[in-house]
């Protein structure tokens, strides 16, 4: 695993280190391929970009998009911003927490889902909205969400 990670990161570095401002594209590439950016990747990226580990760590922790622990098999993001609030997003979020048996930023009881808040998916005309594994769903309600989760499990 550790070896795989090294290979993967050095491949990404090789491809991207020449980009101007390569840090975010590199972190994105790592997360795109394994779902998160593990702690062990930090020194590798630091070395590749010739910056301190603290610098990489600082960037990694600043941005909500980057995960530092492995996500579940599926990622459920619930929009918690104003337009969705106006259409019951808070109730929807409470329902999701109960249904999955976890809080935001945690893994569901069965370990299948990561539950995350997001602040606007650009679907505000048909709020509330959620995103599962990059697919958006609008005009959501607790019943529809249950069906959606059922359809996603596996």
């Amino acid at each position: 695993m550790a070896h795989d990670l090294e290979g993967m990161v050095s491949h990404i570095l090789e491809e991207m280190h020449a980009l101007q401002g390569a840090m975010l594209p590199i972190l994105h590439a790592i997360q795109d391929s394994i779902g998160y950016v593990p702690e062990e990747a930090v020194p590798l990226v630091a070395k590749g970009l010739n910056v301190s580990r603290a610098e990489v760590h600082g960037v990694l922790t600043f941005y909500r998009h980057f995960r530092r622990t492995p996500p579940g098999k599926h990622v459920l993001q619930i929009c918690c911003a104003e337009s969705c609030q106006a259409m019951g997003a808070n109730r929807l979020a409470e329902h999701a927490k109960k249904a999955l048996g976890c809080d935001f930023h945690e893994l569901s009881r069965d370990g299948l889902f990561s539950l995350e808040p997001v602040y606007c998916l650009g679907q505000c005309a048909t709020s509330p909205a959620v995103m599962i594994d990059g697919e958006v769903h609008a005009r959501m309600n607790p019943e529809k969400l249950d069906r959606l989760l059922e359809g996603t499990e596996s």
């Binding site: 994105h28 941005y63 106006a86 997001v118 606007c120 650009g122 505000c124 005309a125 048909t126 709020s127």
Partner: protein, 505 residues
Amino acid sequence: MKIYVPGDSGALALGADRVAAAVEIEATRKGIRADLVRNGSRGLYWLEPMMEMETEEGRVAYGSVSPRDVAPIFDLGKSHPRFLGRAEEIPYLKNQQRLTFSRSGITVPLSIEDYIANEGFSGLVNALKMTGAAIVSAVTESGLRGRGGAAFPTGIKWKTVLEAESDLKYVVCNADEGDSGTFSDRMVMENDPFMLMEGMIIAGLATGASYGYIYVRSEYPHACSTLLEAAEILEKAGYLGESVLDSDKSFHIEVRRAAGSYVCGEETAMLESMEGRRGIVRAKPPLPAISGLFGKPTVINNVISFSAVPFILANGAEAYRNYGTGRSRGTLPIQLAGNVKHGGLIERAFGVTLNELIYEYGGGTASGRPVRAVQVGGPLGAYIPESLFDTQLDYEAFIKIGGTLGHGGIVVFDDSVDMMEQARYAMEFCAIESCGKCTPCRIGSVRGMEVIDGIASGSQQIGLLRDLCDTMLNGSLCAMGGMTPYPVLSALNHFPEDFAERRKK
């Protein structure tokens, strides 16, 4: 027969792919040669998935189509209850003034042929025959002001970059669209990406920049992949690259993904992020126009600002300037959202009133209850009560009522809203998103949540909240801390009854 089912993420979010599949199945079953076209969305989201069919009378539409409706629509045609008549005659659309969104929903987003057939690249062709200074003058004369929130005159910004001496200059498109209640940037990127890129190329010609970046929100995976494809297509077709349309001008576009930080929509935090650092706001001066990305003179504009430019160069500054009112010239793509019956995109000249938008277009709330408040301009925008719904959408008019137009988003709330909760959320959002550089924003927002909780339990005074807002208004480096008091104070001023003492659940 051509049948259109939008591929826009807003249509997909309501099941457009399943409708498209049903169309193919039904056509096969009936032995009809159906040509399924995945067009963009017209932005009438309350009617998505909106299916259109080409007929002798033009494109006719069916609204809110489910897969189950498809077979009966094939059988019944016009007499099906979902039939809306000609798409262009739908009043919500017909009563708009679409300059920037003139193609959205009509064309296939990634078809250059469609784009050119609908006036695409005529602005660029004109610009290639002009000097940089002449392009800048046209943009200045159009009266275009930045649509990202601060409403700064676009031409003046471009002039500064044009006049800056440098071997290298950049054009950066701010596509971080962080405001809740807004989706016009997303619509452009998904439904008419060439228009945005044409605007950026023109900005390059105007200012002498040959490299462009689009910093796009990571919450928009569909927009992101459309942009990547669009850039590739334009490169192959000779619009991007070493020689733009065989001229001696080069222009390249690179797409960069953001990473879920609201403050990175602030232009200097965005530059930090693009340079590979945490999104901490920079003190100005220097202006990005003088020293921006990697220290070079940089044009930074919002997606909608760039997208207004091709029209201006194609039709002349006058043609754009003739729309609007006072110092707010041209059109504003308004995004109607939240608890509203008919949510969607409404492009209108400045000057339309909130009343018209909320009731005539919006049809009131989705819940059927009375409207209590609208928040205009995103999370840093004011909450506005019904008594001010006769306000015109115009930058100055909104400043006058203590608000901002921001990026043109309107979020409607019904009478079940608790305005103290909304005020608390504004503080909470600021606490979550603050870049941490200044104390009034970083600490003040956390303190703000505590004070509001204190007001609820009767242990704190409202005066304390006002003092805190004052400190944030005056002591913050950027609008994150500096405008969070807008939603808080407007909630307090217009809805004081919600701030009475009560026991919190």
